[in-house]
């Protein structure tokens, strides 16, 4: 066994010391089994969504919330439940690609969910998307000589975009409904990754499609929507579902679920039992929940850094001192990962110094100090900071107010010079 393998084993052992097979926290998508084990809370929201699936009417559901609040996971959990409980319903998921309209996006999602349908696969092929079936076009020529038979040949199909994606989608839904009489549900995720005015336009253009024969679940943000699109009376959506930050007890329960999903021994899911949050102590577990502000993505990011720090320090328990070190490392890591421009850093520092910034209270002097004349110009930077988990928007409906994420400030380790 060579040295490198030893290092690997040592690293694995450090995690095992914490009674974990591997670090359970992740920012990447997880498989359905893991998702079912770690998904926590949101019972009221799930109930509202599932109620809509108890009737025949096709429904349009818009799930919105801040970045990192768990929209994708919520959507996947809904689809997973539908899959288990309504086996005669077909569900399809896709993250909205850039520069694509909603009808073509839905068409791709549905076609991918129908691998055995040749017409569906042909649609994908014509769009240049790889399929499992190799498709060929048959041609035939009659040979010049009299009396001799025809010969046939094959050539690859040319790649073209669908001219009428909405019509193609409608056709595909009809085909799906033959095999799946309980219905078709199409989930389009990540509308909030696009520019709000682009999303507004996409929605306007997709009104016909959204009123068609499938259930639609979309995730995004409310910022880009106009009232007429949102209201159910003359608008598009039967349900607009906000996802808010999780409360502390739910976040604590979520921590337990995450840890249990990779615990080697002694699984325990009683929140009152300190063993349920090992290798955390109850106080450090609570601190993690507080600092992550009920935002699942921040929770995962901090969790990864905390466990990495713990393994680096070769500890078995995450004490307050270990946690403090970890959170400092996390703060530094978040800042480095964000790669802020000078202007963004100025805004971040201002936010840190002042505690919060809002469109209601900021002064001209403050704006000039930051190099702006209007708050709407600072807003994209604040949202970028939020995306990088360096700021968060407080829940006040009559103002746009941002506060810093309260982590202890980490110091960059100076490089050693000869």
């Amino acid at each position: 066994m060579n040295n490198i393998d030893d290092i690997f084993k040592k690293s694995a052992n450090s995690i095992h010391q914490l009674d974990l097979r591997q670090i359970p926290f992740t920012e990447s998508p997880v498989d359905n089994n893991t998702l079912d084990r770690i998904f926590t809370g949101r019972e009221a929201e799930l109930g509202k969504v599932f109620n809509l699936f108890q009737g025949r009417d096709r429904r349009r559901i818009y799930i919105y919330g801040r970045i990192g609040i768990g929209k994708t996971v919520f959507l996947l959990e809904v689809l997973s439940a539908l899959h288990r409980n309504l086996p005669k319903m077909l569900s399809a998921y896709i993250s909205l690609p850039a520069n694509l309209d909603l009808a073509t996006t839905a068409l791709i999602a549905l076609a991918k969910a129908m691998p055995d349908d040749e017409w569906a696969q042909r649609q994908l092929y014509q769009m240049g998307i790889p399929t499992e079936i190799s498709l060929k076009e048959r041609t035939s020529e009659i040979s010049a000589s009299l009396g001799l038979g025809a010969k046939s040949g094959e050539k690859d199909l040319p790649v073209t975009k669908p001219l009428y994606p909405a019509v193609s989608l409608e056709t595909l839904i009809e085909r799906a409904l033959i095999k799946y009489p309980a219905g078709v549900a199409i989930a389009i995720d990540d509308l909030d990754k696009q520019n709000p005015s682009v999303v507004r336009q996409l929605m306007h253009d997709a009104q016909g499609m959204l009123k068609g024969k499938a259930w639609f679940l979309l995730t995004g943000h409310p910022m880009g929507m106009t009232r007429d699109l949102l209201t159910s009376e003359r608008g598009l959506f039967d349900l607009q579902l906000p996802l808010e930050e999780l409360d502390q007890p739910t976040t604590y329960k979520m921590l337990i679920n995450y840890l249990n999903s990779e615990r080697i021994n002694n699984k325990c899911d009683d929140p009152k039992d300190p063993r349920s949050v090992l290798p955390f102590l109850p106080e450090t577990a609570k601190k993690l929940c507080e600092v992550s502000l009920g935002k699942p993505r921040l929770f995962n990011r901090l969790g990864i850094t905390i466990l990495n720090t713990a393994t680096a320090l070769q500890v078995k328990i995450i004490t307050p001192e270990v946690l403090e070190k970890s959170l400092k490392a996390a703060e530094l890591s978040l800042r480095q990962k964000a790669a802020l421009t000078a202007q963004e850093e100025r805004v971040r520092a201002f936010l840190q110094e002042h505690g919060n910034i809002s469109d209601e209270t900021i002064s001209m002097q403050d704006l000039e100090q930051l190099g702006f004349r209007a708050y709407n110009e600072v807003l994209p930077i604040l949202e970028r900071l939020e995306e990088a988990d360096l700021a968060h928007q407080l829940n006040q409906d009559d103002t746009k107010i941002f506060a810093p994420i309260l982590l202890p400030i980490g110091q960059a380790v100076p490089s050693i010079k000869n």
Binding site: V159, S197, H204, R227, T341, R373, A374, N376
Partner: protein, 629 residues
């Protein structure tokens, strides 16, 4: 020597004779190489001798066809030869083709005759000498002649090719009604596409799609937004065949065109469109290098410069630096001697960028802007280019006004006023330039009033503003020029479009205007645009954004001590807060707005606000009753 003795027929020179015979021998080889090594023989003397040579050589009836074919090849290869005197080469080529028709007559050789007519048409279209308008008329006439033989039924491919060429000629046509010419071009391309299908003739199909895209970009009839969407769709189709690997030059050309369409696009998100334009130009520049395609490279650099000037994303200061960089590259090829009109356009564009430049010393930037506009004025004279002259005048006036604000030099203001008044004499009433020039004149006069205290100045200023405002109407505004309009015009047009129900376009204009005004010299213009944007969002029932922008407008108006602006913003903010159910906060704003309106002696407005305030109070009382019930 050309002639022999007194009264005899003129004869070609021996030199010309030898040259043509040498070409006959070299015809099947590399004609480009041949012309390179006989550059000095391509001269005016040859031009005089060509018809004489043709006459002499075709006297022998057995040889006449061979000679005619030789002259045809000579004409075709020479008209594209890039070295030497291009205009002379074209004229030699044109003459040679005309001579061929003496042998290949319509009666005897209809198909060849039609082919030569088609080639002649292309030659006339590109001909530099003589009157351009005339040349284009000749081009169109010869294409029409070709189409008498090239019918769809008998010669479908040639027919389609000639339709395509006819379309190109109509695009450039100077005579006739411009709108009509463009419609004819589009019709010709559509006819060509009936034969040039993607499956049968992919390259020709792609070429015609590209041309169709250009026609839609220029189209006057129909909805501007629609036309640009069609242009983009046509370019995208062309790019399915014009791939970089297979047809790099055509691919680059189409990318450049696509960039232009996105730069002018009205639909969709303006920020996105400009990013796509920049990306397309950058792709084109991968093939359009300075060494290989200097003219195209320069043209694309110029376009890239304009796109960076208008860019919304990224840091504005940086974007303007990139614009300057690209425009300066363009001006290395767009020299005054070689390409005066392109040179002048690049000077004008540089003037605009320096006028807005954020980095560097302000005074220095404005000096440079004024210098560039003056340079452009040397070519964009009122006689030669009346519209461009007027636009340039107005931009120069703007730069002078900015300098006046910096240095308190009243003479600059006076010069600006004179420039604007003279530009207005030649402006088309109601056109975008007219509107912007009136607006600028109003601004210049009101600034002059601050020095002169002459009531006439103020009155004329108000008049100018009113004329500008009245002329901005969504039905009549030439949207083709919207992105060149002053940001203040964009803001006003934007708010009117929203009022008229064109929400998306209106909002795009408002947001675009803010991009420029936020770093501009006039914070009052910025405050006004913020206010208009807030109102736009309010009409769209986007309360969150309406509130955000009303607060921004209010803050800036307060900073500028503009009481009317403060009052209107408080009214808007109050109204939005009340609509959202924040009755207390909304009422506070409404009360202040009402009292301010009274102070401004606007009793009607005060009354309106008071009505909303009282309704909010009643709602508050009802809420209180419900709570205690």
């Amino acid at each position: 020597m050309g002639s022999k003795g007194f009264g005899g027929q003129p004869e070609p020179t021996e030199k010309s004779r030898q040259f043509i015979l040498a070409f006959k021998k070299a015809m099947d080889e590399d004609t480009h190489q041949f012309f390179c090594s006989h550059l000095s023989d391509l001269n005016e003397s040859l031009l005089k001798d060509l018809p004489l040579l043709f006459c002499e050589l075709t006297k022998n009836k057995k040889e006449q066809y061979v000679i005619a074919i030789m002259f045809g090849n000579f004409g075709l290869s020479l008209k594209q030869f890039p070295l030497g005197d291009r205009s002379l080469n074209m004229e030699l080529g044109l003459m040679a083709l005309q001579l061929v028709l003496k042998v290949f007559t319509r009666r005897a050789f209809p198909q060849d005759w039609a082919k030569i007519q088609n080639n002649l048409g292309a030659a006339y279209k590109n001909y530099i000498r003589g009157d351009r308008a005339d040349n284009l008329e000749k081009a169109i006439a010869t294409y029409e002649l070709a189409l008498q033989i090239y019918t769809r039924e008998a010669f479908s491919k040639d027919w389609a090719g000639t339709q395509n060429n006819l379309g190109i000629a109509y695009i450039d046509r100077i005579r006739g009604d411009r709108e009509d010419n463009l419609e004819r071009a589009i019709a010709a391309y559509e006819l060509a596409l009936q034969i040039y299908t993607r499956e049968a003739f992919p390259k020709d199909w792609a070429g015609t799609q590209n041309n169709l895209g250009t026609a839609y970009c220029k189209r006057i009839r129909g909805d501007r937004g629609d036309n640009l969407e069609r242009a983009i769709a046509a370019y995208e189709l062309a790019l399915q065949i014009y791939t970089r690997e297979a047809f790099p030059e055509d691919w680059a050309g189409t990318q450049n065109n696509l960039g232009n369409a996105y730069k002018d696009r009205i639909r969709g998100d303006r920020g996105d469109n400009l990013e796509r334009a920049i990306a397309a130009y950058e792709l084109a520049l991968q093939i359009y290098t300075r060494e290989a395609f200097p003219k195209d490279w320069a043209g694309t650099q110029n376009n890239l410069g304009i796109a960076y000037k208008d860019r919304i994303r990224g840091d504005r200061g940086d974007n303007l630096e990139k614009a300057i960089f690209a425009l300066k590259l363009a001006s290395q090829i767009h020299t005054r001697e070689a390409l005066p009109e392109d040179w002048a356009m690049t000077q004008y564009n540089l003037g605009n960028v320096y006028s807005d430049r954020i980095q560097g010393e302000r005074a220095d930037n404005l000096e440079k802007a004024i210098h560039f506009f003056n340079q452009a004025a040397d070519v964009f004279t009122q006689k030669a280019f009346p519209e461009k002259w007027a636009t340039n005048q107005a931009a120069l006036a703007e730069a002078l006004m900015k300098r006046a604000a910096l240095t308190n030099n009243i003479q600059d203001l006076v010069s600006a006023i004179e420039l604007l008044q003279s530009a207005l004499i030649f402006a088309v009433v109601g056109s975008p330039d007219f509107i912007d020039t009136q607006y600028r004149l109003g601004k210049a006069l009101s600034r002059h009033y601050e020095y002169s205290h002459n009531a006439d100045d103020l009155q004329q200023a108000m008049q100018a503003y009113e004329i500008a405002l009245e002329a901005i109407s969504p039905e009549h505004y030439d949207l083709k020029q919207i992105w060149k309009a002053l940001p203040t015009t964009q803001a006003i047009l934007g708010s009117r479009l929203i009022r008229d129900g064109q929400w998306q376009e209106g909002l795009q204009l408002l947001l675009n205007s803010l991009t420029q005004l936020k770093t501009g010299d006039d914070p009052l213009d910025h405050a006004n645009a913020l206010y208009q944007t807030a109102r736009g969002y309010e009409v769209l029932s986007d309360w969150d954004n309406a509130r955000l922008f009303y607060r921004d407008a209010l803050r800036l108006y307060a900073h500028l001590n503009d009481l009317l602006g403060i009052t209107q913003s408080r009214e808007g903010l109050g109204s939005v807060l009340v609509s959202q159910g924040y009755l207390d906060k909304g009422s506070v704003e409404l009360v202040q707005a009402r009292d301010n309106y009274l102070q401004l002696q606007k009793a009607d407005r005060a009354q309106q606000v008071d009505n909303i305030y009282k309704a909010a109070q009643r709602a508050l009382e009802r809420q209180a009753v419900e709570v205690y019930a």
